[in-house]
């Protein structure tokens, strides 16, 4: 690698870090897209154990496209964080899945550990993998 290329990479990562800082510092954290929020509330999408969002039932093409988009973005985040923590993508994603299931609100869907089926979250704690924190 040439020195110029190295410098460029450093500059690029510096700019990325600043950009990331800027985003993290922004007062209003980005909220769910209204379509996503509505689909969650309606139980059309739910949290899977692997850390990704799933379409409940066959869904619509639009719904599936939305879920795919979110999952691609989740995967990017998982990959970055997993590398930072010296873990595998699957390990990080699974851990995030545990937490995402914990954070579902009553009425929202998630995949229950004991049945492997889509289940509506109730007021009681969700049926999660026993390894979940």
């Amino acid at each position: 690698m040439t020195k110029t290329a190295k410098t460029r990479i450093w500059l690029a990562s510096g700019a990325a870090a600043l950009l990331g800082l800027g985003l993290a510092m922004s007062p209003a954290m980005a909220q769910r897209d209204p379509a996503y929020a509505a689909a969650r509330a309606a139980g059309q999408v739910g949290e899977k154990m692997d850390g990704y969002l799933g379409v409940v039932g066959s869904g619509t093409a639009q719904l599936r496209a939305m879920v795919d988009d979110i999952n691609i973005r989740r995967r990017a985040v998982y990959a970055e964080q997993a590398q930072a923590k010296g873990a595998t993508l699957e390990e990080y994603a699974f851990t995030a899945g545990c937490l995402a299931i914990s954070r579902t609100e009553p009425g929202e869907m998630y995949v229950a550990y004991s049945t492997g089926q889509w289940t509506a979250r109730t007021a009681s704690s969700p049926d999660r993998d026993p390894r979940c924190p």
Partner: protein
Amino acid sequence: MTNVKLTTPAFRAHKPPRTGSNMNTKAGRGIMMGVALLGPILLAGCIKLEAPTEPIVIELNINITQEVIYRLAEDAGNTLDENSDIF
């Protein structure tokens, strides 16, 4: 078409003892062929193969240890908070 033999074939001097397979007799071959053909026909009539309605989920998470999950939990929690638009 039938084969008409003009002469009477000579009888065998002795009847050979039966071996394990009867494939070397014409009748035997007929029976074996019949069984071979009948098998798939019977099976085709009985077994219906249908594609599952739900996608098959293969669990690839069995190698993830609880220790690793606990180590990552705090960071993952922050990740969920910081990316609340996609979680």
